[in-house]
Every structure is written in C-alpha cells, then in structure tokens.
Amino acid sequence: MTRSLLRFAAVVLVVGALLVALIAWLNVRGEEPLDTAASTAPASPEQIERGAYLARAGNCLGCHTERGGAVYAGGRGVPTPFGTVFAPNLTPDATHGLGQWTAAEFWRALHHGRARDGRLLYPAFPYPNYTRVTRADSDAIFAYLRSLPAVAQANRPHELQFPFNQQAALAVWRALYFRPAAPEADATRSAEWNRGAYLVDGLGHCNACHASRNALGATATPLDLAGGLIPVQNWYAPSLASPLEAGVADWADADVVALLKTGVSARGAVMGPMSEVVSGSTQHLSDPDLRAMAAYLKALPPSDATRAPGSPAPADGPGAKLYDKHCAQCHGDQGEGAPGAYPALAGSRAVTMTSAANLVHVVLEGGFPPATAGNPRPYGMPPFATVLSNEDVAALLTHLRGSWGNRAAPVSAVDVGRFRNAK
C-alpha cells in the first residue's frame, strides 16, 4: 500500500520535473549566448534617424509614454483582463531606463521577450510580433533610444492578479503560445508584399488588436488578423480580412494609404483606438512603406464572413425620429454623409458589421478623427452620453442598421449598456 503510494509519488515527481524542464527549455529555445562584442561601435546619425523611424512604425511611444508625461519615460498602463501592465522607462537613465543595457540585451528583449536580468517579459509588450524584427532594425531602434535625454522616472510595478503575477505562470504561457521567429522572406511573393508583412505582422503589431484572444490572452494563431474585441477597452478591432468588416481587398491602394497617412479616406475614417495608431505611428511612415502595407493587407486571404440578416427598419419609428433630430443635419437625410467631413452611414461597413461595439462608443462618446499633417483640422462629432438613454441609442442604431439599404441585426438596450459601462 505504502509502496505503491511511494511509487506514485515518485512518478508524479519525475513527470513534474520533466514538465518543468520542458517549460524551461521551451522558454529559452533558439537563444544564442549574448554577444556583447558587437555593441561597442558608436551609432551613426543615419542609424539613429532610422531607429526613430522604426520606433514610429512600432508605435513604441504609444505605450512607453504616459499621457502628458516625459517622452519614452514609461508609466502608461496597458489594461488586460489579468490586471494592468505598466510600460517601463526606455530613456537612457542608468537606474530606471536602458542606461546599462547593451544592444544584444535589447535585441533579446524584442526577439525572445526577456529583460536584461533574464526575467520573462509580459506579452503586453508585443514580442510575439517583435520577434520577427531584424537584428539591424533592433540595433537602430536601440541607438535611437540611447540618443534620447535620460529621464530619472521610476518604473511602476505591474498590478496583476495571482497567479498571473508569477514568472512561473508566464513561463507556462510562453511554452504554450510563444515561439521566437526569424524574419523570413516569402520568396513566392513580391518584395513589396514582404515589406508589408514585416511592417503589419512585425513592428506594426496590428494583430495585438485585430485578433481575438483566448481565455489566457493569446491570439488564435500568431498572425491572425480576423478581428476581435479589444480587452477592457471594449472597442471592436474589425477583421482586416473580411469583406464585411475592414478588409481592403477591393480598395484602391491610394485609399488604404490615405487612411493610414491622414486618418480619413474616400472609403472611411478611423476612430477610437485606431486614431492613436494613425497619430503616433502610421502618419509618419513613408509612402512606399504604406503602399507595402496596403499590398499585404489587400492580399490577405478573404475570410468567409457571414452575418446575421436584419430586416428593414420602420421609416417612422423612434429611431428614425432620433436620427432626424440628432444626426441628419451632418450625416444627411439618407445617411449619405458629407465627403471629407462626415462619414456616410448608408452602405457603411462600420455601421453594418456584426459587432455594434464601436457604434455605441461613437454615439455615446463622440470623437474627432486624428489631427494629422494630411487632415490637420478634422470635423468632430458630439458625445450623446448625457442626452440619450440606452433605449434611445439602441433604437437609433437599429434604425441606422436597417435603413437606406443597410440590413444588419438590431441592437438592444442591453448591448448598449454593456459598452456604456465599459471603460
């Protein structure tokens, strides 16, 4: 009796030890010893400038600068279902920033997701994407960050719930979902497509938002762009592959470039969290790079999107009355919009896509498209949070989704409440 119990315990121990060893091995696979010799060469102005451009492409500033805070000094929280992860200081400060880091250690952080002291990093830092960044680009970004003024701002500890605040939990997550990747070119595709893939899937980390996540916060496949609800913020980042959402397969290249460069285009405008991406990142990219992103996005295999059919909205219901009172003045009696100022609602995928999350946000919170060099004085929409009840918003959105040829499913007051209370 005791002997079989002992044997069982021994088996459990051995299996456990093997599992721990496997997880540990999976966490450092593909890592070469840190090469410190190469990091002594001083950076050239060209390399620093290149690094500044690449940091824009990665929108590093977006997380590593607090609202109104010192540039790159960290402190902004990334809300996740497991708690808040605070982006650290990337200035050359010796105590709190990258002052003591080498280029090799920086590359290991991007490529393998490990800190200078070897700690595993949380994937709120999108190293599952940055792992595809080349060593040369990593070195350029590092050289740029080292050229910034040092800011002695202490890093804020993450606020994560147990067990997600444990390195062991992170090791298990990484063993399951993270694999370092080499920046590989697809020889069957054009150089432009490959450049686009590098920017969209690598530095741009588009799928950090444009993909759904499982219960452990991992994307379905590493480079999925099939759309998803952004955790905690509850804006829906639409599918970039679906013709019913934000797929651009039938767009002219120039429209994709205009959207990313100015925030507005003949086919639609950006709003919500994407405004921040255009402001901080894509408006600064070169036209060839934006065309490359367009080429890659246009070539994504279209997903077989289906949507629940809706029925026409009554022309004299409560939604129609609210529309006439609050919306028609700018968006037009027939939802036709006004080019360059107010988006059309008739035939708009932003109106008809299955998730109504963004519609609720826009009606309640209003907003401006980003002010960019190409669209410096955008037209704005007022917030209606203080004017319209959940029932009003539901009636209004149901009207938009069932009028002027739109045939999308109605929106309920419960749906509106779900997104109204989200923050």
Binding site: E66, R67, G68, G263, S275, E276, V278, S279, A328, Q329, C330, H331, G332, D333, Q334, E336, G337, A338, G340, A341, Y342, E365, G366, G367, F368, P369, P370, A371, P376, R377, P378, Y379, G380, M381, P382, P383, F384, A385, T386, V387, K423
Partner: protein, 234 residues
C-alpha cells in the same frame, strides 16, 4: 409622350430633392466644432442652469491651457479626455482662439438659494479674501469685474453654480490640476467646503454686464505664482 414627360419631370424632381437633402457643410471652425456645442450650448454659450461651462468669450490662453490639460490628463473628465486625445497642439490653439473671439450675450444669473450669511461670506471671499486662511481675494487675479484677464485667467461669473462647486471641489480634492505651480489648488485647499459653497452661490448669482469682456491687464502682480499665466511671479 405625356408619360415620358412625366417620367423626366419625376427624375428631375427626385434629383432636386436629393440635392436639397444633402447636408450643407461649411469649411468653418463653427462647423468643425459641433462636437463641442452639443454640451457647451450653441456656439459655446451654455446656459447658467446646466452643468457645462460657457466657453465662448473666455481668454484664448486659458481655453488653450484647459484643452491641453484635458488631452494630457491634468484635468479628468472622460468625455473631454477622449474627445481631445487625437488632436494636435496647433489645432487646440485654433479651437481656443475660435471660442475666445465669440462675443455673445450672457444668460441671466442663477438666483441664489442660500441665506444672507452664506452670501455675505461668499462676497467677502471674492472681494477681500481671508487673510487668516491665506486666501487672496478672487478679484486680485480674476479682475475687478471678475471677467478674467487675457490671455490666461478665466472669468468667474456667467457660469453654473454646480460647475463652480465641482471645479473648486476637484481642486481641493486634488483631482483637477493646472500647470505647476498650481495656484488654484493651493487656494482651494485652504478653503472649507462651506467656503466653496458660499463662493459658488454668490458668483453664480452675479449678472454679467452687457458686452463684458476679459480685462487686458492684471490689476496688480499676482499674489502667488501660477503656472501657465504670463508674467506670473516664480
């Protein structure tokens, strides 16, 4: 023949109808700023009975500093923080200048609901301050007419009582900030909640004279250093 004519007429009518229905969009700041006037009232001249403050005719520098503070998180109000997040310094400056140059009549004041003692306390604080609390008179910074001082000190009259209460309360509690040194935070923290209520009661009950505008110069050097105000002592 007749049928064809009818059809042509119908098509023409439909076209005319469609042309009429198209929204008229002017290439003006007023058109662009419809996002603001939903809450701040037509042209930014909010009535005194609501919560949202009037923005029309406030000094441009003050409005610009507030827009920056909302965008960068020194002032907290979710709708304003979100709305301004994607806008640039240049555009915020243009927005401030747009609302500052509007000259529009003010609404009638809000009748006070407090007793004489409270209103007397409010009036004393506004006109004389309270040396024991080290609180300067409001008029020392906001101008003898309380209409503010261009470019950065705002008017204190012509605003809803609830808004005044909320702002002084937020400064006292540390949830509203101005650029450092934050003189209003220091003043508000020296006031008791009953003082704040007395101030709001008295200020909201004042009539704004017709064609009142911000003063152009400070009555005297500021009694304490204030960030964002040109010429402030350091």
């Amino acid at each position: 023949m007749n049928a064809t004519l009818c059809r042509i007429a119908l098509v023409l009518l439909t076209l005319a109808g469609a042309a009429q229905a198209a929204p008229k969009v002017e290439d003006t700041m007023a058109q662009r700023m419809q996002a603001c006037t939903g809450c701040h009232g037509p042209q930014g001249r909010a009535a005194s009975d609501g919560y949202y403050p009037r923005i029309a005719g406030k000094p441009a520098g003050y409005l610009y500093n507030q827009l920056l503070s909302f965008r960068d998180g020194r002032r907290q109000y979710g709708l304003m923080n979100n709305l301004l997040a994607p806008l640039t310094d240049d555009y915020l400056q243009e927005i401030a200048a747009h609302f500052a140059q509007l000259e529009l009549p003010y609404p009638p004041p809000q009748p006070a609901t407090a007793g004489v003692d409270v209103l007397t306390r409010g009036e004393t604080l506004v006109l004389k301050g309270d040396a024991a609390l080290r609180v300067p008179a409001c008029i020392a910074c906001h101008g003898a007419a309380l209409m503010g001082v261009a470019p950065s000190v705002p008017a204190l009259i012509g605003m809803p009582r609830d808004y005044l209460n909320a702002q002084l309360g937020a400064w006292r509690a540390g949830s509203r900030h101005a650029m450092a040194p934050d003189c209003m935070a220091q003043v508000a923290q020296r006031l008791a909640p009953s003082d704040i209520s007395a101030l709001s009661q008295w200020l909201a009950a004042q009539t704004v004279p017709a064609s009142a505008k911000p003063a152009t110069t400070l009555p005297a050097p500021l009694p304490l250093p204030c960030g964002g105000v040109p010429g402030s002592p350091r």
